[in-house]
Amino acid sequence: MMQRLLGIMLGLCALASAQAGSSFEVTDNSREAYSRINPNSTPEQLSEAFRGRSLFRQSWVIAPAKDIETTGLGPLYNQLSCLSCHAKNGRGQPPETPQQAMRSMLVRLSLPGQDPHGGPLPHPVYGTQLNEQGVPGVPGEGLVSVDYREHSITLADGETIALRTPLYRFADLQYGPLPADIHFSPRVGPPVFGLGLLEAVPEQTILQLAEKGKRQGVHGHPNVIWDDERQCAVIGRFGLKANVATLKQQIAGAFIGDMGITSPLHPEENCTAAQTACKQTLSARQPELDYAQLKAVLLYLRLLQVPARRNLGDPIVQKGEQLFRAIGCTACHTPLLTTGEFLELPILSGQTIHPYTDLLVHDMGEDLADGRPDFQANGREWRTPPLWGIGLIQRINEHSYFLHDGRARNLTEAVLWHGGEALSSRQGFAHLPTEERLAVIRFLESL
């Protein structure tokens, strides 16, 4: 009896500690769980965030158009709206067949070498991203299709898992061939909630996590990048290779790179000198996303809440959490962080959060390598992706494709693709008895 009471009390404590973390955690299992704005915001903030939400969901329009505030798509672009790649603020997905176009996925490009600040060297004609679409009169840059080849691996318990390797085709390249040594990196759109919290994690914490990792034999490191806005080298934390310093820059970069929409940070259209039709196309206005709009989108994303964990009392979930830690996953997928003082938006300050990332880039092995260095992240390194909310992807985005290019069809495959310095964890997972392996997955599904 006493033991049962103690068990209940421990369970309640676990529940309380998990839920007491942050006013940014929202208990919501619905398909809107990635879209909740922190209700503790001021009325003025909420009003601005709603404006930002409208812009984030807006399908942008080709100039000329009457609604000047949402005009300026292209001349070259990938999609019409932010929501295209971040459906319901969640994950994009790769095409299911080679015949399908990339709808929530894009391909980054660069040449061997570095730009003057150590970043990727843009292709002189195609730049750093293949824009598949163009406004009328401006040819889209080309098409990329993806096909997969499967191979099987056998786990310690005898279960066979098929993994699929993506293979890409470039076609209809409208501005000339790409060189044989082009670097390219396909990526699906990642979730966009919780980014304000990650922005509020102090740099010192990131550096400490790198030091702590080294003591554990993990050699993740911050990606020190060039901040164009502040004109100095800083730690990157956004983007799949942590190659962007701030959320504002990430947003402005996506507007220009994915939709061809200029902003105060990117006042020039995304046309290279060789793209004459693109260069001759008139902009809707200058800039197409003005400062107030950029600020509104920034506030919206910063105020988005994060789904709280679910099924904390489930013994299988608890077992999975122990195993997740035991096989070393938490060396990179850091379960708990605390945000620092964030003067731009104090509501983000001092929050205890459960992002399951260390914001460092890690060697993930040859199989996941894109061979495209990005500042200090080499071609095998990726930033540890946050895992919060991952258990709701299936419900919200109606798919279960994971990893940077969506090659994993479920969480098990995603774990089994880990290599490099995550290899021992991957092997630990592969050697678990069936029930324990499923417990790890159940734990991930509780996030």
Partner: protein
């Protein structure tokens, strides 16, 4: 061929040569079998076992047309991303040989866009903007749909589902009705309204929110549905009664559903999928379809200048197919299909207009409404928006007197009511094309704008005089 494949595999795998990206130029829509793009792996190195399979696939590709050579089909629409992306994906799965490009334009921009030479390269126009379809039909902008309409009804009560000449047709509908906050109604002891007439009940005074049609995009058609259902003069009279109970809402960051969801008001006429979306976001709302329901249809047409008619017809047919229509049930879309048979597979509690019309036949025809919407908007503003406080005050007094009216006051109360519910344009005049054009063209034609303003001034004078007379009569009735 097998020997060649094995030889090539050996040449590449045997030498363990890294395969890097080699891209080639192709002309859009023109297969170039000799230059079929190779399979590439980011980072360049492809495991040998993968390469074996990949090379085999490549050889197949060399022997056939490259899969990526597609016919481009351009669709102009104003649908949000949630709708567009689902149709893009599903259509592409069904027709992998067609590359669907979407141009997004609001209806007011779509009209000039489609009037450009070659119609801006647009093949298909798909939007909930009946007026655009009708205007462009007059300008010979469409070609006949020429699709198989088996299983599709030509009408739903008074609502035509296909153009009489076959140039465009309805692909889906949204229902007008009432967003309701059940907790609010319970707290205030209010019954759930079933009809527009119910909203005029004095019990709802102070509990409604009503969108202003000149400011809120979906409202003009909805207001006209009241006029069609009840008749021109009785309809305006009913609207005046309803306005007496309502807060008027203009477009902006505060949406109708926010007002009802937050409990500021309890009931608001709106459109079904807005309410469903707000409810999905956690707002304590549900939607009441009135008896009968009025629908806002979305149409589809093929541009006369399209060079891809077959592909366009495939797209139109796909949107109207079982699969295309069932996509409308998705919780992120929530529209009403026009293919009656798909309702057999509808989600639980999903509204079925074909079943509903048997009990309460549809009376609203949006094609009748379209020419007079601008006129309606102007009348609404001059009658109600310009005098809201004054009008509500008059109604308040009138209703008070009606509750305790003496026999000798009845005639005077009827007179006051007539003054508050009268409309300065009668039914016959409202149907006059010249009057309708004056208002529909005012935004683009200075002369029309001047005429419209002159008419509005005259109406305002008449309305002011009516309300002043009502005030005077009420004064005579005493406090």
């Amino acid at each position: 061929m097998t020997h060649l494949l094995h030889a090539l595999v050996w040449l590449i795998v045997g030498r363990n040569k890294p395969v890097r990206a080699i891209a080639r130029t192709g002309v859009s829509g023109t297969p170039n079998a000799g230059n079929a793009p190779p399979l590439l792996s980011p980072g360049g190195l492809i495991p040998a076992y993968i390469l074996l399979h990949a090379l085999a696939w490549l050889i197949v590709g060399l022997c056939a047309n490259p899969a990526l050579a597609k016919e481009k089909l351009t669709v102009l629409t104003a649908y949000p991303e949630d709708v567009v992306s689902r149709y893009e994906t599903a259509f592409e799965q069904t027709y992998p040989d067609i590359d669907l490009a979407v141009i997004w334009k609001m209806p007011h921009d779509a009209l000039p866009y489609l009037k450009q030479p070659k119609q801006g390269g647009v093949d298909v126009y798909w939007s909930a903007s009946q007026r655009n379809f009708m205007v462009l039909k007059q300008q010979h902008a469409w070609q006949k749909l020429g699709i198989d309409r088996s299983g599709l009804a030509d009408s739903l009560g008074a609502l035509p589902l296909v153009d009489t000449d076959g140039y465009f047709c309805v692909t889906e509908m949204a229902g007008y009705g009432f967003a309701v906050n059940a907790d609010y109604l319970k707290k205030h002891g209010l019954a759930t309204p079933k009809t527009w007439q119910d909203l005029a009940d004095t019990h709802y005074q102070g509990h409604l929110a009503l969108p202003v049609p000149s400011r809120v995009g979906f409202a003009p058609m909805m207001i006209d549905s009241v006029l069609q259902q009840y008749g021109w003069e009785p309809g305006w009279a009913l609207l005046s009664d309803i306005v007496a109970n309502a807060r008027l809402v203009e477009s902006g960051s505060t949406f109708i559903t926010d007002i009802i969801g937050s409990g500021e008001r309890g009931i608001a006429p709106t459109i079904d999928f807005f309410t469903a979306s707000a409810a999905a976001n956690g707002a304590p709302l549900h939607f009441i379809y009135p008896e009968p329901v009025a629908y806002s249809p979305a149409h589809i047409a093929i541009a006369a200048a399209s060079q891809h008619t077959d592909a366009a017809r495939r797209f139109v047919s796909f949107v109207l197919s079982d699969r295309g229509q069932k996509l409308l049930f998705h919780p992120d879309i929530r529209k009403l299909p026009v293919r009656a048979s798909v309702y057999a597979d509808k989600p639980d509690h999903y509204f079925d207009p074909f079943s509903e019309t048997k009990a309460h036949p549809v009376v609203y025809d949006p094609s009748r409404a379209s020419p007079r919407l601008a006129l309606n908007n102007a009348l609404f503003d001059r009658l109600f928006s310009d005098h809201l406080q004054r009008l509500q005050n008059l109604w308040l007094q009138l209703r008070k007197h009606q509750q305790s009216a003496k026999a000798d006051q009845a005639e005077r109360l009827v007179k006051i009511r007539q003054l508050l519910t009268g409309v300065p344009v009668n039914a016959a005049k409202a149907e006059t094309p010249t009057l309708q054009q004056t208002f529909s063209e005012r935004s683009t034609d200075k002369k029309a704008e001047a005429e419209a303003q002159a008419l509005e001034q005259a109406w305002s004078k008449e309305i002011d005089s009516r309300y002043a007379e009502a005030e005077n009569l009420l004064k005579q009735l005493g406090p």
